[in-house]
């Protein structure tokens, strides 16, 4: 029988496996002998950046991961946070950047598939998806096709699975021309006493393979995701993983059905580096060894060899460990759902991960050698040269820029995207895409989960510490604007090549900024993912920590909206702001997008504002005190006002025609609107948070800074920009 172990290992072969000469020497040292070819493949994926976090591990330890609600922090497939009354939320965000650049539809689709599996592996039924997307310049020849493909891929997978995609974000920048970012987030709900872990239990337990058969998909996907792109990488690409959301829907239902009983000891999805990393991770967590009989693995193609079976990234597969004697339960459930199911091995007591092929041993490596002994680097860091300050901007009539900014690719309406996502399936979505945060109720309870994803690579680039802290604050502010309290954060750290000291510095500073803000705002980081080497031909992406924050709201479904209705009084909450233009959308429109420092965060102000918003939104005996809440972020006060007018009702507001006042992006501020008779109640609930009445809603014009804009025209500009760019403006979104 051909095992794939007969190929010689030359320095070229080692290099092709993404191991540096030093790393190969380390491998020889810890293994104490030459690896077989199969084992080399196993090391190449287990020691890849993607699986081992070798460049990032030491930094991630600085994040706050504990809190009174945290049931499971980083280290499992997804983190879990207690919601009370026997419920818990399980969530994680993950990147699928490199595969999506190569094949946007399948790359994005399988990204969604992967994050869904991470969540239902834990026993949670997924209730919401989000997507955080970055693309190159709109005018770059590849951008349109990437947007179309990625969005269709996310839709294709999430819609078929019947999980609503309720929020997301889409930004464009030249730094993403050669590396788009596709970060997918999933949250599920699980009974807090029925959480499943990826572990092994005792020796003698049986290892089952369930789901789709294994083919030659994505072999070396994990190592691909860990190297820089360069000229020609589009040609050399390996077999693309093709997603099958239908199989995954069956896998979801079958797993949750089997989880009703107590047959399962441990369960782990096969993601990057497939069978290898899932089995090694389980053995590592269980502190055991594992024997896999690779010839028993269900195969989709003929002639597959152990090397391929171990490295394949075929989708929609899981490993399950059960106690002996429970086999028939597993077979019954998976056969009911027409899925492959096979017993492929068992848990052993010697701490060694072994694979056999028709009785012949093809790999035998101590688990600790693959996991704990993996290289960890404290890579050199170097702060880059200081950036130029933001020059003075001469602009006689800043307010006149509003329509231009509304048509900006980052600001314009993204209905074209989210209408392709089924955001209502499940009949729990009470706040849909387009709001500050989305909200999904949990049927049969008063609990609601709120979701937001936010990241501003431009501000992080200007100052990774402050920029990242600002993003955490903004996420929490968005949740407060729908009345929710943050309970956890998942992050996806998208950066360039960590072997460059300036990139490593960005990474480390960004982690520290996140850590500080999360501590200050009481938001534990419960899961996340790191995607490095997002560079093409030496050009790195903007440092982009993708953040996904989850909030909890309890009570009657909130009635707050982000759209004005007639006859409301509008106030600006928080400090008036210093007119902070560096890092703003406005400054970018003058070409100053790599200038100055981003706005600082004042945590005390921020917390007081969020608490006040939650008090204002909670439906008291007389209903909520306010009708509208909307946070100030990109585009500052004027963009926030304009967005509140998109429902068709305008208003007249007292703001000076001054760029800083109109477009400054200072943190810690939000707009509210309420019926004038509620003014006193609102004031009492503010408990000292500064507020300034800006004016009244009503009419069909936005009157501000000495100008009047017809709301229908603003809306047309805002709504049409994105579809016009994609489709030539021939179709409605």
């Amino acid at each position: 029988m051909k095992t794939g172990n007969d190929s010689p290992i030359t320095p070229e072969v080692v290099a092709q496996h993404g191991l540096s000469p030093d790393e190969y020497q380390r491998l020889l040292d810890v293994l104490g002998r030459l690896p077989t070819f199969v084992e080399l493949g196993v090391f190449s994926v287990m020691w890849s950046e993607h699986c081992s976090y070798k460049s990032s591990r030491i930094h991630l330890g600085r994040l706050p991961t504990k809190g009174p609600r945290v049931l499971i922090g980083p280290g499992e497939n997804a983190g879990v946070v207690d919601l009370g009354d026997g419920y818990a939320a399980c969530f994680k965000m993950e990147s699928h950047n490199h595969p999506s650049y190569i094949e946007p539809y399948q790359g994005a689709a399988t990204g969604v598939g992967g994050i869904l599996r991470d969540v239902f592996t834990m026993g949670a039924r997924p209730v919401a998806l989000m997507d955080s997307l970055r693309f190159g310049r709109p005018e770059h020849p590849k951008t349109r096709a990437l947007v179309r493909g990625v969005v269709a891929g996310i839709a294709g997978y999430g819609n078929c699975m019947g999980i609503p995609t309720v929020a997301g974000e889409t930004r464009f920048d030249r730094s993403y021309d050669g590396n788009c970012l596709v970060n997918a987030f999933c949250c599920g709900v699980v009974p807090s006493d029925r959480i499943f872990l990826g572990t092994t239990g005792s020796p003698g337990n049986k290892v089952f393979y369930v789901g789709a058969g294994t083919g030659r998909d994505g072999i070396h996907g994990a190592t691909m995701a860990s190297t820089e792109f360069g000229e020609g990488s589009e040609e050399k690409r390996p077999t693309v993983q093709v997603g099958d959301p239908f199989q995954e829907k069956l896998l979801l239902e079958a797993c949750l059905e089997l989880m009703q009983g107590d047959a399962i000891v441990g369960i782990q999805d096969m993601g990057a580096a497939g069978l290898t990393s899932s089995s090694v991770e389980m053995a590592g967590r269980g502190g055991r060894g594992l024997l896999l009989r690779l010839d028993q693995v269900p195969m989709r193609e003929t002639g597959m060899v152990p090397y391929e079976l171990l490295l394949s990234e075929s989708q929609e597969r899981m490993l399950i460990v059960i106690e002996p004697g429970r086999e028939s339960e597993v077979f019954a459930v998976f056969q009911k759902w027409d899925l492959s199911v096979a017993e492929i091995g068992e848990v052993t007591d010697d701490g060694v991960w072994r694979c056999t092929w028709h009785g012949e041993e093809v790999a035998a490596i101590p688990v600790a050698v693959l996991t704990d002994a993996a290289p960890k680097y404290d890579r050199p860091q170097q702060a880059p040269a200081p950036l130029p300050a933001l020059p003075a901007i001469v602009d006689a009539d800043p307010a006149a820029r509003l329509p231009t900014l509304l048509a900006d690719p980052d600001i314009s309406d993204k209905q074209w995207i989210w209408r392709q996502y089924d955001h209502q399936v499940g009949t729990d979505t009470v706040i849909r895409p387009g709001a500050d945060a989305a909200m999904v109720r949990i049927k049969g309870t008063a609990k609601h989960l709120a979701f937001v994803t936010d990241s501003n690579g431009r501000q992080v680039y200007l100052d990774p510490f402050v920029g990242t802290a600002g993003q955490v604050a903004e996420c929490a502010r968005n949740l407060a604007c729908v009345g929710a309290t943050p309970i956890g954060l998942s992050d996806c750290m998208n950066f360039g090549n960590p072997q460059k000291p300036e990139i490593m510095w960005q990474f480390s500073r960004s982690v520290d900024g996140m850590a500080e803000a999360c501590r200050a705002l009481d938001v534990p980081v419960i899961s996340g993912n790191v995607s490095l080497y997002n560079e093409t031909d030496g050009v790195a992406i903007l440092p982009t920590p993708g953040l996904a924050m989850v909030g909890l709201y309890e009570g009657a479904t909130p009635t707050v909206s982000a759209q004005f209705t007639e006859g409301l009084e509008v106030a600006l909450l928080g400090q008036p702001g210093r007119g902070w233009l560096a890092g703003s959308v406005y400054a970018r429109h003058f070409g100053f997008d790599r200038h100055g420092a981003p706005p600082p965060v004042d945590y005390a102000t921020e917390r007081a504002l969020h608490d006040a918003l939650r008090r204002l939104i909670a439906p008291g005996a007389a209903g909520a005190a306010i009708a509208v809440a909307h946070d100030l972020s990109e585009g500052g006060l004027l963009l926030a006002l304009a967005e509140c007018c998109m429902g068709g009702v305008g208003g007249a507001f007292d703001v000076a025609n001054d760029a800083g006042a109109l477009y400054g992006e200072d943190h810690g501020r939000a707009l509210i609107a309420y019926a004038p008779q509620d003014r006193e109640r609102v004031h009492a609930l503010l408990e000292g948070v500064p507020s300034r009445v800006l004016g009244q809603t009503g009419g069909d014009a936005l009157v501000v800074a000495g100008r009047s804009f017809a709301v229908t025209e603003l809306r047309a500009v805002w709504e049409r920009a994105f579809p016009a760019w994609l489709d030539g403006g021939t179709e409605s979104p």
Binding site: G215, R216, R237, V240, V242, D244, F246, Q247, D338
Partner: protein, 80 residues
């Protein structure tokens, strides 16, 4: 002038739809069906395009640029 273009998944690329159809046929009693792979056929009406070599090379371009996803699909052109 007419052309027919076949676009099929490259060997080894997973075809979930083909697999579902195969499963469907078997469960309907057509147990002899061992595998199904699904491709696309484009029937293309062309204005008279000069010499065959030019027509072919333009069709080839269209396939590479639009009709086929060269990452996972291959194509074949027939002039009718």
């Amino acid at each position: 002038m007419r052309a027919r273009v076949f676009v099929t998944l490259k060997q080894g690329v997973h075809d979930p739809a083909g697999k579902a159809v195969q499963g469907g046929l078997v469960s309907m009693g057509y147990e002899e069906v061992q595998a199904v792979r699904i491709g696309k056929v484009f029937d293309i009406e062309l204005a008279d395009g000069g010499p065959e070599a030019v027509v072919r090379s333009r069709l080839d371009e269209m396939c590479k640029k639009l009709l086929a996803n060269m990452v996972i699909e291959s194509f074949r052109v027939e002039l009718l």
